[in-house]
């Protein structure tokens, strides 16, 4: 009984800020409710919101843009983050200073990062164009203004910002590997490549998967940095699912429809989270 009294505030808080909004969003997704017209009669529309959502080519496009962003940014972050973790793990002179410097981007606010990268990408005065033109004669181009380049521009900024985070998680892996494993491998005359595949990679894999889980879910919900950087443009090239969700909910005020969209995204993240946790547990058991 005493235990229940102690955990009751937490349970009430969870019910109020997690469970109730979720159930309310599910209920709203079956109605034509508009939050800007509270006096309007709310009608039960059944699965109509879901039908419209899942037959819309626009929504399909936003989800493809999201997939491009999530897949490529995770690919680069894992590749670079893992590489940096192996490098920093070598404990060279000044590695602590380098670690701090590398970690700086992830300590910044995504809105700030989005804003200053718009200046870096600026076609006339931005340093990005200057550096590219220093090496190749690319002329004046806008990373965030051209349809072919804008999706890569947001991938690049997200990679710049969150690679240190992946590195930090991965760093725990190599540091937990006892030296005698490598010594035994040396005795067996295993090559460096063989040592990497048979010792380093399997030991780091749980940490890598954890990083992929965290970044995958976060990138699927990405909003602030991309809004500051491109506002979803040019056209709707970089309009990710979460950006469109905000537009539907708070610009067009189609609350019922946007609730259905939110449930779709929630279910996807929840399902993916389940898969990752399952595989993470399996890898840990090995």
């Amino acid at each position: 009984m005493v235990a229940w009294i102690f955990i009751l505030p937490t349970i009430l808080l969870l019910l109020a800020i997690n469970i109730f909004p979720l159930i309310w969003a599910i209920v709203l997704s079956f109605t034509n409710y508009r939050a800007n017209q509270p006096g309007r009669e709310v009608k039960w529309v059944g699965t109509r919101n879901y039908e419209r959502l899942l037959s819309s080519e626009d929504i399909w496009g936003y989800l493809q843009a999201t997939a491009h962003f999530v897949c490529w940014s995770m690919f680069f972050q894992v590749l670079l983050g893992f590489g940096l973790a192996l490098l920093i793990n070598r404990q060279f002179k000044g590695h602590a200073t380098w670690t701090t410097l590398i970690l700086l981007p992830m300590m910044l606010s995504p809105a700030v990062v989005g804003t200053f990268w718009t200046y870096i990408y600026q076609p006339q005065a931005g340093i990005f164009n200057y550096i590219i033109n220093f090496f190749i004669d690319a002329g004046t181009f806008s990373m965030i203004g051209e349809v072919a380049l804008a999706p890569w521009a947001i991938v690049m900024v997200d990679t710049w910002m969150w690679t240190p985070y992946v590195m930090l998680i991965c760093l725990a892996g190599p540091r937990s590997i006892p030296d005698y494993l490598y010594e035994a491998a040396e005795v067996d005359r295993a090559s460096k490549l063989r040592q990497f595949w048979s010792i380093t990679l399997p030991m780091v894999l749980p940490f890598l998967m954890l990083a992929v889980l965290f970044r995958g879910i976060e990138n699927f919900k990405m909003f602030d940095m991309v809004v500051e950087l491109t506002s979803g443009g040019p056209g709707s090239t970089t309009e990710l699912a979460s950006i469109n969700l905000k537009r539907e909910a708070f610009e067009k005020w189609r609350t019922g429809y946007s609730s259905a969209f939110a449930i779709l995204l929630f279910l996807t993240v929840f399902g993916l989270g389940n898969i990752y946790v399952k595989f993470l547990n399996k890898v840990k058991e090995r």
Binding site: S55, G271, I275, K278
Partner: protein
């Protein structure tokens, strides 16, 4: 009693409803649903993705309560 004998002696329902294979099937269903949701090839696949993810996720929640083996 050896492991194999234990397996044979297990009641019918417990033998069929083991977590491992069912969880794997639910996981595959979720993965398929997410692919269908974000693939650039067919609107029909996109339209049916929600149902596949929903069935996969609900099944996962249910089968994760099945006995281990």
């Amino acid at each position: 009693m050896s492991g194999q004998e234990q397996q044979e002696a297990r009641p019918g329902l417990r033998r069929w409803f083991r977590r491992g294979p069912w969880e794997m099937a639910a996981t595959a269903l979720i993965g398929l649903g997410v692919f269908m949701l974000m693939q650039p090839f067919s609107l029909w696949l996109f339209s049916n993705s929600f149902a596949v993810i929903l069935v996969g996720t609900l099944s996962f929640v249910i089968v994760s309560h099945f006995p281990e083996d």
